[in-house]
């Protein structure tokens, strides 16, 4: 039975077009419980571990997905015409601001970037990298933005906590000015 469960999950992982979460698997295989599914996934993570073959099983966006190894990208690109995500530097900066400060409103973003960000925001919405969460209950009821699951998928992140820590500017010891505490600016 457990062998069978592992096999079923393995076949689901092959067919799925997005990372599969434990909850999603549980809804499909109703007879299995969470612990059994987790065990099966652990087994598959070992089976498809780094160095075992041409692709690996990775934990992404709260789920599991088969991903090819980056070192083979050259050959894969010869096989398929990939549609690479081309983001301009302003778009990438805006995306970072949303990712690291979410939930944010547009004026927060523009405050950090110093420029109007309407066009970039729309582009990020179109590409499903960010989405509207709702409205903030302050005058003008501005829209609140957060990153999507697709954002995690694209950047190979398990969850938001998995975001790389950006470099902080270190205070110079000989600096005469008082130390600036790096509090989140916009909250």
């Amino acid at each position: 039975m457990t062998k069978d469960l592992t096999n079923i999950i393995e076949s689901l992982l092959l067919v799925a077009d997005a990372p599969l979460s434990v909850e999603r698997i549980k809804k499909i295989i109703t007879s299995a419980d969470t612990a059994e599914i987790k065990d099966a996934l652990e087994e598959l993570l070992r089976k498809y571990g780094e160095g075992k073959g041409g692709f690996v099983l990775r934990e992404i966006a709260g789920g599991y997905q088969f991903r090819t190894l980056p070192e083979y990208m050259e050959w894969i690109k010869r096989l398929i015409q990939p549609n690479p995500l081309r983001l301009s530097r302003p778009a990438l900066e805006t995306l970072s601001i949303i990712a690291y400060n979410q939930p944010v409103i547009r004026s927060d973003i523009e405050h950090i970037r110093g420029v109007d960000s309407g066009g970039v925001l729309r582009m990020l919405l179109e590409r499903k990298l960010v989405k509207v969460l709702g409205r903030k209950e302050i005058p003008g009821r501005p829209l609140i933005y957060i990153t999507t699951k697709h954002f995690l998928e694209v950047f190979d992140l398990k969850n938001l906590k998995d975001l790389p820590t950006p470099k902080e500017m270190e205070a110079q010891p000989d600096s005469s000015s008082e130390k600036i505490t790096q509090k989140p600016l916009f909250e």
């Binding site: 992982l13 092959l14 067919v15 799925a16 077009d17 692709f55 997905q65 088969f66 991903r67 090819t68 190894l69 980056p70 990208m73 894969i76 398929i80 990939p82 549609n83 690479p84 995500l85 530097r89 302003p90 990438l92 900066e93 995306l95 970072s96 601001i97 990712a99 690291y100 405050h111 950090i112 970037r113 110093g114 420029v115 109007d116 919405l125 179109e126 499903k128 989405k131 509207v132 009821r141 998928e153 694209v154 950047f155 190979d156 992140l157 975001l163 790389p164 950006p166 470099k167 902080e168 500017m169 205070a171 110079q172 600096s175 005469s176 000015s177 008082e178 600036i180 790096q182 600016l185």
Partner: protein, 236 residues
């Protein structure tokens, strides 16, 4: 160069005032915590003048930053009375700069990741092998797709038919659906109940307009009891 003949979009050079400031700080190799504000302000203003003379089209954001810098510069010239407690005026610019640099470094870290469709690829099993019923152009829909669809419709209809979107109108719609939901469950509801949960004046107005609208549409009937004076809405 004659006016209007040669225009350069500044974005090629600096995306915004923050970018220009970062450039000046890097060029002068100064400490962000100890910006020589007079020097940087002068150079910043020089840049703006240069851009003007080259007829470069630049946003008002650059002017705002220039004003901020000039303001800090003047503050630095006036000795503070109790300089122990007063904050360094330069912090006004150092703080946002630090946050901006932090985000720029974050952006660089994101690019370095194994990006899907670029460095790494997911499986691509042909779903047609598994689906019996063929789907014709089915889109995964989110809020953005909904608005986008409506925006496209708006562009195709004449201006006369376009609707005005005011917050209030939507709020009336919201109230209509709220009242109908209550009526669907309870069958009837008193006037008092509908207004009791209201907080703001605009919400009371919205509720009242919503009631008028549904009465006009003949969806509810309003009855007032002679004895108690209670007004009740009935779902038809």
């Amino acid at each position: 160069m004659a006016n209007g003949f040669y225009q350069v979009k500044l974005s090629h050079v600096f995306e915004g005032p923050m970018d220009l400031l970062v450039h000046l700080i890097n060029k002068n190799e100064v400490d962000i915590y100890d910006i020589p504000i007079a020097q940087i302000t002068d150079q910043y203003l020089e840049y703006i003048d240069l851009m003007k003379s080259m007829n470069i089209d630049f946003a008002g954001d650059f002017i705002i930053m220039a004003a901020t810098l000039t303001h800090i510069k003047s503050k630095m010239l006036i000795p503070s009375i109790n300089d122990k407690e007063d904050e360094d005026p330069r912090l006004e610019i150092a703080r946002p700069l630090l946050e901006y640099l932090r985000m720029k470094s974050a952006a660089e870290l994101l690019v370095e990741r194994n990006i899907l469709g670029q460095d790494t690829f997911a499986g691509n099993i042909n779903k047609k092998d598994y689906i019996i019923k063929p789907e014709d152009e089915i889109i995964d829909v989110g809020l953005f797709e909904l608005i986008d669809a409506f925006q496209k419709i708006l562009k195709n209809i004449p201006v006369d038919y376009r609707l005005d979107f005011t917050g209030e109108k939507i709020s009336v719609k919201d109230k209509i659906s709220e009242i109908i939901s209550i009526l669907e469950v309870k069958g009837s509801v008193t006037f008092f109940e509908l207004f009791s949960a209201n907080v703001g004046k605009s919400e009371i107005v919205a509720t009242f307009l919503a009631i008028l609208e549904i009465v006009k549409l003949d969806i509810v009937r309003i009855v007032q009891y002679a004895q108690t004076g209670i007004i009740r809405l009935f779902y038809l």
